[in-house]
Each structure stands twice: as structure tokens, then as C-alpha cells.
Amino acid sequence: MPSIASTLLAQTPSPLTPADFWLPIGASQQAAGVDWMFTAINWICYFFFLLVVTMMVVFVVKYRGKPGARFRSDAPTHNTLLELSWSVIPLLLCIAIFWYGFKGYVDLSTPPKNSFDVNVTAFKWGWQFKYPNGAQSDNLVVPANRPVRLTMRATDVLHCCFIPAFRVKKDIVPGRYSTLWFQCDHPTGLDEAAGYHLFCAEYCGTGHSNMNRRVLVLPQAEFDAWMVKQAAWLDEIPDDELYFKAGPKIYARCQQCHSLDGTAGLAPTWQGLWDRVANPTGAVRFTDGKSYADLIGPGKEFPTPQDYVRDSIYNPGHYLVAPYGNVMPTFKGQLNDRGIDAVIGMMQHLDEFNAKGVWTKATSAKDPAK
């Protein structure tokens, strides 16, 4: 096998291995070690499988009894040497497999010191990737030719970060951090179709299979530029354009549960939502029996409707509109004040959007800002 240590620590780029009968494309420094082990075990399996099946078929053909024939009685009942040998040889093989698998695993789970850090938050049902300069992204964008370490947390239930092309996977457990590292030497650009798959591999409910995103790998210089641009995207939008430029992008993370056209979902629709919170009545009840009118308004728990919406985003389990369950993750630390403003703005101007959250006003009015 290629020495794992030399493969991983070498500065030379790892080869891009194409997909074959068993394994998908391999694009990380770690892929070669895992693939070598997988293939080695495969050959051991082929050998023993053919051995057993060949013996089985040969014996069945050769010793097939004829009807009415007297049973043979010359067969050996045991052979201690033979039986010991087929205990000891598999044992030695197993120890060898364990040892190489262990060595590979040590390399898989030890991020190099010069790793670039990305913060990952997994939630029902999506991902957020955060960068040291404050940039945020829905796809995992990473620099090429450099070890990348993901520090991951989950806001609600178990998730699992799985990147098949890199041969890495790690559960994300709410209440603790988990880490994962890889190094990819093969840039993909920002085109999603060219990116590597990233899946959630731990069952997490309705949208489990919709948590697939792309890993996009950029050369270091391009990556730095992307990170700067990405960090500023909310700030670069003028205040009065925030709701239709940033709103739909943020809403993309809400649409799995909150519809815009009144369609029933896992959570209240946004259709007419602003009317209901701006003019609170007793009609909308929470699971604890209180209503909008009890909570929203001057002197009450939420003096303005904006306060209520903000609390619902940051602290979703605080009050639950009946009959919905406590399924929404918190967006604390993910959406800043400008993000909240964009969401509220979108709720206020919902008539300017179609059911998919696409802003349609541009065609009907010259001046989008009121």
C-alpha cells in the first residue's frame, strides 16, 4: 500500500481517482488510503467467497445421492488440524486488516496543525458554513491544496456530515462539537454542478434527504476573494432594497416548512402573517392557550410585532402557534439584525413575491422601494 503517512503529509497533490465499479470519484488526500484498504478487503472477500462457493458446488455435484442409495459412511467427522487452521488463518488476516484500518483511521481523524477552519451548523433541514471573517454560505466553499477542518454543531437533532468523494464522515451531535478534516487538491470553481456532494447521513426527519449541498473548491487566491465578497453581501445591499434582494435568499432556508401561499406545511404559512401580528387578535392561539392579543402590543411581552418575529426566529420553541410542534431550529448566530430586517421586510411586502419566493414586482413597478 502507499505509505499513508507519506501520502498525507506530502505537499504533492493527491491524484484525482475516477469512479469505478465500487467507489465514487476520489478527490481528497485521504481517499487513496481508504480506497486501498477497501480494495484489499475486497480481494480477501473474493478469495474466500469463491473458495466456499466452489467447494459447495463441487461437493454437491460430486456427492449428490441417488434415490434409494445407501448412505455413504466413510466421511470424516472432524479434522482438528484442518479446523484449527481455518480458525487461525482468518484470525491472522483479521489482525492485519484491523491494523491497517487503524493506521488509516488515525490519519483520517488527525487534522494537521495548519488547517483552515470552517464553522458548520447543521439544522433541520440545512447547513450553514461560517468563515473566520464572518462570511456565511449554504454550500461548503473551501480553499484547494490546504487542509480544511470543519468544527460542527447541530441545533436540534443528530445530523452527519458525509462527503463521499473525500471518504470522510462524522456525526454532528447537539450539545457538543465534532470535527472533520480533509484536503482537496482539485478545484471545482463556483459552479454547483461541478462540486462534490455533501450529504446528511444521520436520519433527521422529513427533509433528511434534502440536506444535500455541494463542496466547491477554489484556488487559494480565488477563495480569499470569494470570502471577502461573501462576508459583505448583506452590508452591500442598500437598506430599502434589502427585503427583495436578501429576503428571498434567506427565505430559501425557511421554505421547507413555511409556505408563502397558504399551503399547509410543518409550520404556519407566511401568507397574511404580517397582518396577523401587526393587528393581533385572540384568534391565533399558542399551544399554552395564550393568543397573539395577549402577547403582542405596547406594554405586553412583545411591544412591537417586529419583536415577536425576531423572538420567533431566535427562540422558536418559546411560543408555539397551535397546533404546530417544536420543530424549528434557532437561527441565533446565523441571522444578524440586517438578516432579520430582510425577513420582516419580505413578510411586509409579500404581495410582491410569487409562491416560490421570487420577487415579481420588478416587472410591474419601476420603483421597488416604498
Binding site: 474466500f48 467467497f49 456427492y63 455413504r72 481455518w86 488509516g104 483520517l108 436540534d156 450539545g175 434534502n210
Partner: protein
């Protein structure tokens, strides 16, 4: 029980005893309140096969949904319920009770030459616990079902809004006690009710397997019961045990759950291994090869099964040291499995092999278990498991073991003992055709899933990337093929019950005690305690034209331990 009806001479001909366990007493209560292990076994069998039908329908539904990416005919939430119900029903209601409770109940006391199990009332109680557990599971469907996956991983299982979670947890809790009591009963029965002369190393290997299984059932299942209780407490009383938002630890749940559920894998497979030892020896009509190695490997598997649970958690956040230790110990299970496989294969050597329906299932088992066992190597190895964990590769691996081995073993055992249980033969050609169809369908379904998984398709996915579709289509076609095979098997059995040829006492040429009482056995199994020979010495078994079955000619077997030397007989 009272006997009100006269024996039915219209059914029973004169050569068989008119009094068998099916006709011994009549009426609903004579079954519902029976203490006869054979009737309890038959009731279990009907219940388990009914559950198998339900679990199988869910499998077909979820395979159908997976024909296309995105929506095929149901939404994501319904699909999540399909695979959860398929898993929970197949594991808790079908495979765990299938061999020990259904076939074991019927065969074990007869193999021992005993009249019944040690605690007949406890046995009936176990059955009703099973019924209670099954009713709770049904009830959970009525109140909204559950979508947690059969593993009930927290915090999803304690926060999901589906309404049937607590009922099914109670159901599984009750099923666990059914399993514990059955195991307890069998341990005592094997210890106390062996006939004179049947020392431990003269027991049929099926009994060794059932005995090993019973030990796991008694020792591991209480942990599941405690875990489920904690889960119910967390969900209903909001006491934080596993949910981190209340101060709990979800990884702790995984430790508790797999501490039971890994041994449970062996509760499912070890009895099937016992059946295969019987089938291969009896239908090769030749002494089992390496009896002691097979017997000890059953015990070894039972012991190792308790210390390998952590290999379900290599990527869960468990420490690297724990992963290393669990990986190393997990390989230890490979050794007894390899020993058994080679010993079964060698049992074919110089045998007199009859390719009967049970033997076809036995050979299928050998083929499928070899694949299922060998692919365990990929999963026990640390760095390859990181890639394969939670993908279809693991799904394929455990289906090869749980279905291709445990269930195929059970169906094989059913064909093996069917003449004994019902007193009827089935049409051999039909049964073999069904077996071949199931074998082909099984490999179509699950071999493609190995490729799906190693290519990177995660499990429990409603929607998937278009490049995976071809594998899913083949897999679904395989599932339909298997369904056809099982329907043919059902028709074959129904035909046997209605108009099958009357079965002789010993249709296959077996040597263990169950083949020396009538088919079906009388209420008390044996009039007198039978004497025991070497249950794998087939030299004394000869074909009897008059009975159209085999008989044991004791003059050919002086009942000596080493009677394998050929005796010149006039039967060539």
C-alpha cells in the same frame, strides 16, 4: 382441557396414530389456553408469518417509492414511516421470535425427547406478551404511527411530532419480556429435561444454537427494557436523560441501545445457524463435520456479541480509543463465523446429498451468509467504515445477514420441519422453484445496494441523486421478484395443508429424536422416554418402502460413539 370430539377418522388414515397434537382436543379454547409447546409454537408461527406479511408489504411500498428520485407516490413523511415500520416489525415482531419462539418451541422439547418445555405456563404467557406487544404496535399506527427509524435515536425520537412513539416503545418493551421468558424457559429445559444418555456433546447443534441464543435473550434484553423506559420517561415527563437541550446525552442512548441491539443481531442469526447445521447434516445424510467446533463457536459468538456494540458508533463522536478497541474486538466475531462456514461446507464432502427444498435453502444460506459475513470486514475496519457507515452498504450487509441468512434459515427450517408439524408433505418442485426465485430476487435487491452504498448513497433517503436511480430500479425489481417467490411458497404450503401427501415420520432421513415420533407428533410426543444415539450418525438410517420414509434400524447402529466405520450391508 377436555376432549369433546372423537378423533377425525376422515382425515387420519390408519397408519398414523389417530391421536396427534392437532386432534388431541378441539375448540378455540383448547388452542387459546393450551400448554402444549407444539400448539404454542404453531400459534407463534402463524403470528410471525402474519407480521412478516405486514413488514414485507412495507418493504415493497418503500422500494416502490424509491423507483424514482423525489416523489413517486407518497410524501417524505409517509416514506419515513414505511422504512421505520418495516424495520421495527421485521426486527421485533418477526426475526427475533421467528426461530426460537416458533420453530424452537415446536422442535426443542421433541429433540430432547421431553413431553414439553420446563415451564409450559410461562411459555403460554410469553406468547400472550408477544400478542400484547404486537397490539401496542398496531395501536401506535392508529394514533399517528412513528417515524423514528427502528433505532429510536434521540433526540429525534423524543421530539418528533408523530403520535405513535410512546405506544410502540411500550410495545417493544413488552415484546422484550416475551423474549426473555422464552429464553429462560429454554435454558432450564435444556439443562433439566435432556433424556438419559444425551450429554451436552450429544445434543443436536440446533439445541446448542437455541441455548446460546437463550443466554443472550436473558442477559441483553433487560437493558433494552431499561433504555425504552428511560426514553418513555424523557418523552412524557420531559426529564432530560438523552436530549442535550435538557442536559442529556444522545450518545449515551446509542450505547444503551446497541448494548442490546448488537447481541440482538445474534439472537436473530445464531438460531438460523443451528437450523443450517441440522439441514446440511440431515440432507447430506452424513455426520456433521467438526461438531465441537460448531457447538463452541455458537457459545463464542454469544459471548463476543456482548462486547462489540461500539462498532455501530465509529463516527458517532465516541472517542478514538474506544473505536480502536471496538474495531479489534469486532473482528473476533469473524472467527467463529468462518469456522462454522467451513465446517458446513466440509459437511458436504463425501455426503449423500439430496437436493430437497430445505437443502436448497441451506445452500442459499451458505452462499448468502458468506457474502454477508465477508462484507462485515469492510464495516469492522475503521477507515473503510468511516466511508461506508450509514450508507446502503451497511443496509445491504445486514440484510444479507438478517434476511439472507436469518430469515432464509427460518424458511428453510420451516420446510425442514413442515412435514413434522402438519403431517403433510408439500410439492417439492414448487418449493424449490420458489426458493430459487427468492434467491435470485434477494441478490438483485441487495447486491446492488452494496454498490449504491460504496458509491456514497446514504440510507433512509426519500430523495436521491439521479445517478443512483439505475441501482434503485434493479433493487426494486429484485424486491418484487422476492415477493413472487414468497407468494409461491405460501401457495405451496396452502396446497400442502389442503391436499398434501401424508408425511411419514421421517421423510428426510434425519437421526435426531423429532424424526422418531409420528408426524404430526402425538400430544405427549413420546410414549416412553426414547433412547438416544449419535444424532449425526446416519449409517443406521435406511429407506423403508412401506412407509415411504426413512427408519432407524438399531441393529445397524450399536450406539457407539465411533460407529462411522462402514458396515457391509445388503442395501447397496
Amino acid at each position: 382441557m377436555t376432549t369433546l370430539d372423537a378423533p377425525r377418522h376422515d382425515i387420519l388414515d390408519t397408519t398414523a396414530s389417530s391421536d396427534n397434537y392437532l386432534t388431541h382436543s378441539r375448540g378455540f379454547l383448547s388452542w387459546a389456553l393450551t400448554l402444549d409447546h407444539k400448539r404454542i409454537g404453531v400459534m407463534y408461527l402463524i403470528a410471525v408469518l402474519g407480521s412478516f406479511l405486514v413488514g414485507g408489504i412495507f418493504a415493497l411500498l418503500l422500494r416502490t417509492e424509491l423507483l424514482t428520485p423525489g416523489r413517486t407516490f407518497v410524501d417524505a413523511d409517509t416514506y419515513n414511516q414505511f422504512f421505520t415500520l418495516h424495520g421495527a416489525i421485521m426486527v421485533f415482531l418477526v426475526i427475533i421470535p421467528s426461530i426460537p419462539a416458533a420453530l424452537g418451541n415446536f422442535v426443542l422439547p421433541i429433540m430432547l425427547g421431553a413431553k414439553d418445555v420446563a415451564f409450559p405456563r410461562l411459555n403460554l404467557f410469553s406468547f400472550y406478551l408477544w400478542v400484547g406487544g404486537a397490539l401496542f404496535t398496531l395501536y401506535s399506527l392508529a394514533v399517528g404511527g412513528f417515524d423514528t427509524g427502528w433505532t429510536f435515536y434521540t433526540p429525534y425520537s423524543t421530539t418528533t411530532t408523530t403520535g405513535g412513539v410512546v405506544p410502540v416503545l411500550i410495545g417493544v418493551f413488552i415484546l422484550g419480556f416475551s423474549s426473555i421468558f422464552t429464553g429462560l424457559n429454554f435454558i432450564v429445559t435444556v439443562h433439566k429435561l435432556r433424556p438419559p444418555g444425551m450429554i451436552w456433546f450429544k445434543m443436536p447443534l440446533f439445541l446448542w444454537a437455541i441455548y446460546s441464543t437463550a443466554i443472550i435473550q436473558v442477559l441483553a434484553t433487560p437493558v433494552l427494557a431499561i433504555t425504552l423506559c428511560l426514553l418513555i420517561v424523557e418523552r412524557t415527563l420531559n426529564i432530560g436523560i438523552f436530549n442535550p437541550s435538557m442536559g442529556g446525552d444522545p450518545v449515551l442512548y446509542q450505547h444503551f441501545f446497541w448494548f442490546y441491539s448488537h447481541p440482538a443481531v445474534y439472537i436473530m442469526i445464531v438460531p438460523a445457524m443451528g437450523i443450517i447445521s441440522e439441514i446440511i447434516a440431515v440432507h447430506s445424510h452424513r455426520h456433521i463435520f467438526g461438531y465441537r467446533f460448531i457447538a463452541f463457536s455458537s457459545i463464542a459468538i454469544a459471548m463476543f456479541s456482548f462486547i462489540v456494540w461500539g462498532h455501530h458508533m465509529f463516527i458517532s463522536g465516541q472517542s478514538g480509543l474506544m473505536n480502536t478497541i471496538f474495531s479489534l474486538i469486532s473482528f473476533s466475531v469473524a472467527i467463529p463465523s468462518a469456522v462454522k462456514t467451513f465446517n458446513w461446507t466440509m459437511t458436504l464432502y463425501k455426503g449423500t446429498i439430496s437436493l430437497t427444498a430445505p437443502m436448497m435453502y441451506g445452500l442459499s444460506f451458505l452462499f448468502l451468509f458468506t457474502i454477508g459475513g465477508l462484507t462485515g470486514l469492510h464495516c469492522a475496519t475503521l477507515n473503510t467504515d468511516v466511508h461506508l457507515h450509514d450508507t446502503y452498504f451497511v443496509v445491504a450487509h445486514f440484510h444479507y445477514v438478517m434476511m439472507g441468512s436469518a430469515l432464509i434459515g427460518m424458511i428453510g427450517g420451516l420446510h425442514h420441519w413442515w412435514p413434522k408439524m402438519t403431517g403433510r408433505m408439500y410439492h417439492e418442485g414448487t418449493a424449490i422453484t420458489a426458493c430459487i426465485i427468492i434467491f435470485i430476487g434477494f441478490n438483485l435487491t441487495f447486491f446492488t445496494q452494496f454498490m449504491l452504498g460504496s458509491q456514497g448513497m446514504p440510507r433512509r433517503y426519500y430523495d436521491y441523486q439521479p445517478e443512483f436511480q439505475i441501482y434503485h430500479v434493479i433493487s426494486t425489481i429484485g424486491a418484487y421478484t422476492m415477493a413472487v417467490g414468497f407468494v409461491i411458497t405460501a401457495v405451496c404450503f396452502a396446497q400442502s395443508l389442503m391436499s398434501g401427501r401424508r408425511a411419514p415420520a421421517n421423510p428426510w432421513g434425519g437421526r435426531s429424536l423429532e424424526w422418531q415420533c409420528a408426524s404430526p407428533p402425538p400430544h405427549d410426543n413420546f410414549a416412553t422416554t426414547p433412547t438416544v444415539g449419535d444424532c449425526y450418525n446416519f449409517t443406521a438410517v435406511i429407506w423403508d418402502e412401506k412407509q415411504q420414509g426413512y427408519i432407524v434400524d438399531r441393529t445397524l447402529d450399536p450406539d457407539m460413539p465411533h460407529s462411522t466405520g462402514a458396515k457391509p450391508g445388503g442395501h447397496s
